[in-house]
């Protein structure tokens, strides 16, 4: 690609306990972070429209219960409860457009 002024290697990258002087691309460390899954938070797995909400706040749900219909890619996708619990809060309304990974519902999970 373009040969602008080449960056000088000055960052350190640790591999197996040894630090190597090298160029580390921007955003690299952020990329390497791992975020723990939060099963109580139900996120939209695709951008689309909330066609129907099947549950109310405070309602108890079983694993696999239909929570809402998320229409996307010409398909009425079912959003199911991943685990049994209580619907704590619903963050979206019917007819609302949602982005990917938007918070839809928060469940209250029984304490393990």
């Amino acid at each position: 690609m373009e040969t602008k002024k080449e960056k000088k290697p000055k960052e350190l990258l640790n591999i197996d306990g040894t630090e190597y002087k090298t160029i580390v691309p921007e955003g690299f460390e952020e990329l390497r972070k791992y975020h723990m899954p939060e099963p109580e938070k139900i996120l939209s797995f695709i951008a689309g429209t909330i066609q129907k909400v099947n549950v109310k706040e405070g309602q108890k749900v079983k694993k696999g219960d239909k929570l809402m219909i998320l229409e996307a890619m010409k398909m009425k996708n079912r959003v199911l409860a991943p685990l049994a619990g209580k619907v704590n809060e619903i963050y979206v309304k019917e007819g609302e457009n949602v982005k990917k990974d938007q918070l839809l519902i928060k469940l209250e999970l029984p304490k393990a």
């Binding site: 690609m1 290697p9 591999i15 190597y20 090298t22 160029i23 390497r32 791992y34 951008a47």
Partner: protein, 514 residues
């Protein structure tokens, strides 16, 4: 009617076709910094060598008033010519005619020239500049794409296939370039994506420009879909001509041999590499210190920069180089660099190009993102590609060759023909720090001064294992050599492997991890 009149009629018909989409459309094309399709072919091929076929092809669409429209050449120009005096087949989509959209006859022109290229065993160059499928022709345009993809696949590994993206190339159309060997893009002109910005806006509500979604820079630095990036079309054609100077014309030929030239004197091999394995250097300088005339033609310069691939010549013949690049990410193997190396190795193997591998890596990149991105599956591609390759394979271990990285980078065990190591080579299961921490954990933890003990143990390990002689004692390394001897030994290795024969089990094909 006399013959003269008939000739005049032919000339008139030709002139009509040569207007393409008409003056207005041509002006628009030029105003975008683009050449017209015919100008592009002329600029790319040897002067006066182009012969066009299927000039008078017409579409047969009837629906949506298409029967009232004349589309000259049906939006694509096909023909044969020469580059460096050797034959090539070429097609160029003409954006001025119905946006270069692909209908049935358009695709038939392309597949006809593809069939020619295969029959005559010559490279195929496709210049893409098209709005996509011609919607009015419905499923016929889909059939057209499918016929092209099928031929791309059958031709793969038989003739070189080159794609030049000089305009939009969207939707299913992108899969023809993706199936070919080399993709060329030009800044601000090339655009490649499966779904464009407007679809993304409707479906996802996200705003993104064409350039940021699938422009030339994106494909040369982020996606790895493009192999060569140029600032303008002229530079791009120069790159294609240069690439064709290196590669053999088909899978039954070897590269052209030209006069051998020594490397330039300003690349002093011993001054390039620091002895401390933790310090970086640009491995391209090492390549330039061993290839003819220090002329190294890098491929995928902007993507997965922790690994360098490209062509150079040794003794006048083309050699493919694969090298870890310590200047980026310490030269580790990761998902992208594994992918980059593996495909290039398979290209070289398919087209009889010997491979020289320069090794200096601390191993595979550790991290959650890498593991979750499938570094196991992608890393395995390198092992597969090297093991499978039957062309002459020469390996030079410059410094670090640790763990899985050592095995993957064309080791003896994957059937490298010659393995040379510099005296600075460290061939071991892992770096001294990591190894000492594991082997001497107890001693270190129980010592009065653990830090002092750790340092001592690291040094012990380093003295014993961080060298090429342990591997040389087992015959895993053929020679420990002085850096200055590298070119001489590589030249010799290439010479003696000229008639390499290797037998592999009979099979339809393997099942590589891709």
């Amino acid at each position: 009617m006399g013959l003269k009149r008939k000739i005049q009629e032919l000339q008139k018909r030709r002139e009509e076709v040569l207007q393409g989409g008409g003056e207005k459309a041509v002006l628009k094309q030029v105003s975008m910094g683009k050449l017209t399709a015919r100008e592009r072919i002329v600029a790319l091929l040897d002067k006066g060598s182009f012969n066009e076929y299927d000039m008078f092809v017409e579409h047969e669409a009837r629906d949506f008033d298409m029967d009232k429209k004349t589309l000259y050449g049906d939006g694509v120009i096909v023909g044969t010519g020469t580059i460096h005096g050797r034959p090539v087949a070429v097609f160029a989509q003409d954006f001025t005619v119905a946006g270069g959209s692909l209908g049935l006859m358009h695709s038939r022109k392309i597949t006809k020239i593809m069939d020619h290229a295969m029959k005559m065993r010559m490279p195929l160059i496709g210049i893409n500049d098209s709005g996509g499928a011609r919607i009015q022709e419905g499923v016929n345009s889909l059939a057209g794409y499918g016929e092209i993809f099928y031929r791309n696949t059958l031709s793969s590994g038989v003739i070189p296939q080159i794609s030049v993206i000089l305009g939009p190339c969207a939707g299913g159309a992108v899969y023809s370039p993706a199936l070919t060997d080399f993709v060329f893009v030009v800044d601000n002109i090339s655009k490649m994506f499966i779904t464009g910005p407007s679809v993304i806006k409707t479906v996802l509500g996200e705003d993104i420009s064409m350039e940021d979604l699938g422009g030339a820079r994106i494909h040369s630095t982020i996606t790895g879909n493009a192999h060569f990036f140029a600032k303008n079309e002229k530079e791009c054609f120069g790159q294609i001509q240069k690439l064709l100077s290196f590669i053999p014309w088909n899978n039954e030929e070897k590269s052209q041999k030209i006069a051998s030239k020594p490397p330039r004197r300003d690349y002093k091999i011993e001054d390039i590499v620091p002895a401390d394995p933790k310090l970086p250097y640009d491995v391209r300088d090492v390549i330039k210190a061993v290839v003819d005339d220090s002329d190294f033609f890098e491929i995928m310069e902007g993507w997965a920069r922790n690994l360098v691939i490209g062509f150079g010549r040794m003794g006048g013949r083309t050699v493919g180089f694969v090298a870890n690049q310590p200047i980026y990410l310490a030269g580790v193997l990761d998902v992208d660099s594994s992918d980059k190396a593996a495909r290039f190795i398979r290209y070289c193997d398919a087209f009889n190009i010997p491979i020289v591998t320069l090794v200096d890596l601390p191993g595979y990149l550790p991290g959650v993102d890498q593991e979750h991105a499938g570094v196991i599956r992608h890393g395995a591609k390198v092992l597969y590609a090297y093991s499978e390759a039957t062309v002459p394979k020469m390996t030079v271990i410059i410094r670090k060759a640790y763990g899985g990285g050592y095995i993957a980078m064309s080791s003896r065990h994957l059937r490298a023909d010659f393995v040379f190591a510099w005296p600075s080579a460290e061939i071991a299961v892992m770096g001294p720090e990591g190894a000492a921490n594991i082997i001497f954990r107890k001693e270190i933890n129980e010592a009065k001064d653990p830090e002092k003990m750790r340092k001592q143990k690291v040094k012990e390990y380093k003295d014993k294992f961080a060298n090429p002689y342990v591997a040389a004692a087992k015959g895993y390394v053929d020679s420990v050599i002085e850096p200055a001897e590298t070119r001489k030994l590589l030249l010799h290795a290439i010479e003696v492997s000229e008639h390499k024969v290797i037998s592999v089990p009979k099979k339809k094909h393997g099942v590589p991890p891709f």
